[in-house]
């Protein structure tokens, strides 16, 4: 009896923290196996690259926690950054503000469609995926929007205190805020409850429509931020390339992190580690001259391994 309990407990621990464990394992492996891995340059590159996926994944975790999915995040990044880039070109802060509001509004629209009109999340966000990408191309004439704003560029490319990239701080703040929202706030408790049993949540007087809309809106806002991060590095926003395939990576990071695909507790730390893990694999392969197709397959294996762990509990139920 006690022995059995010990085993299930261990499994539960693995299940909950598999993303963290895999990330740490791979990190340690790299410190020893990869040349020049332990350096500020690596640190810099890592956070510059991981920040976008991670931001979007945080939003995706909330959406998936409600039992939904948002495949319009990449398009939201494109629309937001193209509009904002135009705002910088025309020196119009109002337009930049509008770019945020518009992307959040589209998030609200997705949430409303899903919760109020019972449209499948995949379908609702598929539509918005086309709409927002189309708008981004329409506004920009399907061409790269280039701007010059040396101060802005410098802010995002110059490391703080000589070493740490701004991205690191942005990411830490975002993760902490979302973590607190989920674990310390009323809203988080309601999101978890709604994701676990929507019918019971409604019976408990939870305004389920509001909850769902909120999650999609937050995803919109985070997608905008991720789009901006992608644009400022190159001082331009290209409507067709920004945010492509982002939804896939964000969904993968969320699932590796342990947020159940059919709704439930949004595991924010898990999601963060999931995004880190994916990024670390890419970097590791890159630094060791592993070819891209092999990288992809390696990623697939790790995703499968993580999901296998999450599946164990379900099957035994």
């Amino acid at each position: 009896m006690t022995k059995k309990k010990g085993i299930t407990l261990d499994l539960a621990f693995f299940k909950k923290n598999i993303a963290l464990i895999l990330f740490l394992a791979l990190l340690i492996f790299n410190i020893f196996a990869t040349n020049n891995f332990l350096s500020w340059i690596t640190f810099n590159n890592f956070f510059k690259q991981v920040s976008r996926v991670c931001l979007v994944s945080l939003g995706m975790s909330l959406v998936i926690a409600t039992g939904g999915i948002d495949i319009s995040v990449g398009s939201a990044m494109a629309l937001g950054s193209v509009l904002a880039a135009l705002g910088i070109v025309h020196e119009s802060p109002l337009l930049i503000l509008f770019s945020v509001i518009l992307v959040i509004a589209f998030g609200c629209l997705a949430g409303t469609a899903v919760s109020k009109f019972a449209i499948l999340p995949m379908v609702a966000t598929l539509a918005l995926r086309y709409v927002m990408r189309g708008m981004a191309k329409g506004i920009s004439g399907a061409a790269n929007v280039t701007y010059t704003a040396p101060k802005l560029t410098a802010f995002f490319t110059q490391p703080v205190i000589g070493r740490v990239p701004v991205h690191f701080f942005i990411l830490v703040i975002a993760v902490v805020v979302v973590y607190i929202l989920v674990n310390k706030m009323k809203l988080g408790a309601r999101i978890e409850a709604y994701g676990n049993n929507p019918v019971a949540a409604r019976n408990c007087g939870i305004n389920t429509v509001k909850i769902v809309i909120f999650c999609y809106a937050v995803t919109g806002a985070l997608s905008w931020a991720a789009g901006m991060l992608e644009a400022v590095v190159v001082s331009s926003a290209h409507p067709s390339t920004i945010g492509t395939d982002m939804e896939i990576d964000a969904i993968a990071a969320t699932l590796i992190g342990g947020t159940p695909i059919d709704g439930g507790y949004p595991n924010i730390i898990g999601t963060t580690c999931g995004a880190f893990l994916l990024q670390l694999i890419s970097m590791m392969c890159n630094m060791n001259n592993v070819s891209y197709p092999v990288t992809l397959m390696l990623k697939a294996c790790i995703v499968l391994a993580a999901l296998y762990f999450h599946g164990i509990g379900k099957r035994s139920r």
Binding site: M185, A193, N196, A200, C204, G205, I206
Partner: protein, 500 residues
Amino acid sequence: MSDNILEVHGLTKEFAGVRALDNIEFSVEKGEIHALMGENGAGKSTLIKILTGLYKADGGKIIFQGEERKFTTVLSAQKAGISTIYQELNMIPYLTVSENIFLGHYPYNKAGIDWKKMHEDAQALIDELGVDIDVKKQLNNYSTAKQQIISIIRAVNFNSRLLIMDEPTSSLDTNEVEILFGIMDKMKEKGVSMIFISHRLDEVYKKCDRITVLKDGHYMGTWKTEDLSEYELLKTMLGKKEVKLERTLPIRDFSDKEDILEVRNLIRVPYVNDVSFRIKKGEILGLAGLLGAGRTETARIIFGCDHPDSGEIFVEGKQVKIKSPEDAIHAGLAFCTENRREEGIFPDVTVQSNLTLCSLDQLSKGGFINAKQRKQLSDDYIQKLLIKTTGGEQLIKNLSGGNQQKVILSRWMAIHPKLIILDEPTRGIDVGAKAEIEKLIHEFSDNGISVLFISSEMAELVRNCDRILVLRDGKVMGELAGEEISEKSIMETIVTGKEK
């Protein structure tokens, strides 16, 4: 004897040591409509599932059309000539009516499916019954009643000799029921036998030739409909032999107390047909009736889970518009639903979160939850209600049914409601926990919380209610109070009503 299309002898089925069916005798004559009656857990669905090949019997014989048969799959039962018409239809809404009728039996010509022949044949079948249905239209253009009819036609077209109709009328309105009955008559003329399951006594007495009653997996007997009065039927279905009814509640007078809830002329066709009542402060009002009498439906309307076609709700004398459970909670109501697992608990969430979910507003400031207060509240109730758990951090799905129920009751107690609706609060709970929950009901009342108590166990109602409202087919048949309350009087009221 030879007139029996189906005979069942000594049928037995066990689930994990529990006898769901014990030595069942059952027979259906050719061209007969035979009612199968029983409350929850009586074994009706198990019997049907064995007849249609979904379950395998542990013992006993099934003789169909003179031959002993053992159906191992649904298909084999269907091929032999037994078809089931479920309340949830097993047809394909996006195909045409004729495709649904001929599903799996499409007529072919050299070019493939012979659409023309299929439509013509289907239309002929429909016309024969005199129903207004265009077979070329998609199935989902038609009402549930018409879809039921189409599914009957399909069954008969498969050469079914025995139709099992599992609550076919439960979601139909009066006109639709009439149409369905018309079809059943025509089927009967053709010599098709039917097993009819319904909780509406009127329908059973109007349409059925014989009645078989099951109770707790036992065969109670078969009667010709005219030989069994409604009262006798109810007694056979529900009555417990020699159960001593200790009324734990003294007779109390509420006439000087204020109204907490008043419901006027609540209607939701076809489930609730004009229900009115009022509950005083601290009073325990029971809702009695058979399954499908509209008890749960009434509760769901009051709590805003469903919307009524018409009717008014007053809380403490003031009319309230309740559009959602959120509104109901704001008005001071609480609702412990009958399906604990599906509608009550959050299985993968901790006991503490489950318990405090409704009181988050009072536990938080500026959106932040006070973790200490939250734990305190949860621990208090765990202690007070003797909830057996390893602690607030345990997942609620790992608790027993009774303890889960206590968590849900705590959840509602924590918001201090004016009225709590308890829908089958003791279902699926062991005897010990049952007694504790009954005690809690009294505690609610002592603390001035009114209780609307729904239960299918009459003894439970008799023991615990100040007043009982008896429903039948969504209508109020009468009201019993104080000393009038007994199992007998409840059953009599279901049958004949009571002068108000």
